[in-house]
Amino acid sequence: MQMREAAAIATEASLLDIRNLQIRLRRTRGAGLSVLDGVSLTVERGETIGIVGESGCGKSVLSLSILGLLPSAMRIGGGEIWYEGRHPLHTMTDRDIRAFRGKEIAMIFQDPMSSLNHGLTIGYQITETLRLHLGYSRKEARERAVWLLRKVGLPRPESLLREYPHQLSGGMRQRVMIAIAVSCNPGLLIADEPTTALDVTIQAQILDLMRQIREEDGTSILLISHDFGIIADMCDRVLVMYAGQIVESGTVDDLFERPLHPYTAGLLRSIPTPAKKNSPLYSIEGHVPALHERGAGCRFASRCAHATERCRTEQPELVAYRGGHAARCFLAEAEGGNRHAAV
């Protein structure tokens, strides 16, 4: 079993510490529209943190910003991203941050077919990272690649090296992506919708694999998904995002038993379960406001059945209640975090 060597460093710092991150759209003049508004989160060693939200809430942008992979149209407008308490990722140049990419922090993406290079062999794409970060020779890298493929549960690893992505099934491709990601034993694995493009049966397998990796190597995971079920399955703590902000955070139990924010309650209610078989599936009315549609008040107000006048004019702060359970809602504030949010 391989544990993170860095765990020997007795430090209080979190593995990943994002403070008040703001991401804006680049504009020639002025500040530009903000995509992410003051997002903060921490990931401790060995933790699995989930980020859940609808598409457009900014969760993918958040994950890309950690390694400086934002599209050119966006930039970090404020806030800090600290790794291991001493590496300020938000200030790093491309050159400096490259040392972390694929080595300390690795990412896997949603669609393994398009995320792998169709014109290069699997073997090349795995050994590339090994040779780049760990200085392996070609032979050493091949051997290690075989070991990695076996580790992620792929059969016939030696022949797989010579094959191309299109020759594999979707599940196998995602396993390859995971193999690439863990090849240099990263401390943090960022998984952006890793199972969304896969069959339901394969989804479970991939999640199992991620659990296995977590146990064997002690890797922390930042899991992003729109699927609350997966988040609940895998994560210790969850952050709920809406329109570029965190609207609720807490343990999985906290959120399931006592959601404080109406949006969270809505998300929970819309999870299909066998119990709801014969009733119409619930979905939250309305739509996520576009970047320029965000008004001064709570961004969820337009869809919230309990919105007050204050909700529409004032922006609620993210307030922490018992046990680290936090919510961004005036109604929750009013009841001191004791309320069970209704939809």
Binding site: R101, G102, F109, S115, N117, T129, L132
Partner: protein, 313 residues
């Protein structure tokens, strides 16, 4: 039917049509070909002799069959003017044209690909316009005029190159290359324009794909992403384009050889046409057409072989 078998059949059919066309071209002239060649002053005896030589006194179908068989043996008869076997004459002139074509291709690749990569780094409206206008100009300039301009600039004004002299390969390879520089440059200009255009499009297309983000997320340097991941995929269609354009390259060389008075098959063809030397014209036309067909066929096959997605279906 197997894809390759079908392609081969198509190829054969096309070849047959080419031969038919080349043969028919000289038989559709109203009147007697021998008469046309010799002119109205010829005596009956001379005409009869030429007719026998040409074989035009026999039925058309028979003529075609004979000619076809001979063509497959690469026997196109004797040149009317030079009284030498056509194949001989062509073989003598082939090295010049081949070296010209090869040099143009080398230039196209050596200049076109780097330029295409540079063009793909430049984004934004101004860059787009610049690249478009540049490539459009490159395509619009007639290569024979470019040749004349190059002679003016580098031959006469700067005197870097001798004008209108060609040193055969057997005499002095270095000088031979030197005398081919300007003509191959003239030929390469439109080819380079095409390469830049297609490579830029292809690279921009690839750069928008997800695997580029994955490659970056692995910590690769931007140059590694570009050259090891993107370029390899982007070059594939470009190589096909270069191959397909080879025909145009050959066509251009026909005229360029006149501009620079190079003793290649292009100038041989022009001479033959001027002399109404039909066997020679036929042989040359068939040779050039076949070369183009063969190259297109090879390019088609190699594209399927080079793209892993198609190769390993």
């Amino acid at each position: 039917m197997n894809y390759y078998a079908r392609r081969l059949l198509t190829l054969l059919l096309t070849v047959l049509f080419v031969l038919l066309l080349t043969f028919a071209a000289f038989r559709i002239i109203p009147g007697n070909p021998a008469l046309v060649i010799l002119g109205t002053e010829a005596t009956d005896a001379q005409i009869a002799l030429l007719e026998e030589k040409l074989g035009t006194d026999r039925p058309l179908a028979e003529q075609f069959a004979d000619w076809l068989v001979a063509a497959f043996r690469l026997d196109f008869g004797e040149s009317l003017r030079f009284s030498e076997p056509v194949t001989h004459l062509i073989a003598g002139r082939l090295p010049v044209t081949v070296s010209l074509a090869v040099m143009s291709l080398v230039l196209t690749i050596a200049v076109g690909i780097p330029l295409g990569i540079i063009a793909s780094r430049a984004r934004g409206k101004a860059a787009d316009m610049l690249v478009t206008i540049g490539t459009q100009l490159g395509l619009a300039v007639p290569s024979f005029w470019m040749g004349i301009m190059l002679i003016l600039a580098f031959g006469l004004t700067l005197k870097w190159f001798a004008v209108s002299t060609f040193t055969p390969w057997s005499e002095n390879p270095l000088l031979a290359v030197k005398s081919l520089v300007l003509p191959s440059a003239a030929l390469a200009v439109p080819q380079i324009a095409i390469v830049v255009r297609y490579l830029r499009t292809s690279m921009l297309e690839q750069l928008g794909l997800d695997y580029v983000r994955t490659a970056r997320s692995k910590g690769l340097r931007e140059s590694a992403v570009l050259y090891k991941h993107v370029l390899k995929n982007a070059l594939l269609p470009v190589i096909t384009i270069i191959g397909i354009n080879f025909g145009e390259l050959l066509a251009g060389s026909l005229v360029i050889e006149q501009v620079f008075t190079l003793p290649g098959i292009g100038s041989l063809l022009i001479t033959a046409i001027g002399n109404r030397d039909y066997p020679l014209v036929q042989g040359l036309v068939v040779l050039i057409a076949f070369t183009v067909i063969a190259i297109n066929f090879v390019v088609d096959l190699s594209y399927r072989w080079l793209d892993p997605k198609i190769r390993l279906q």
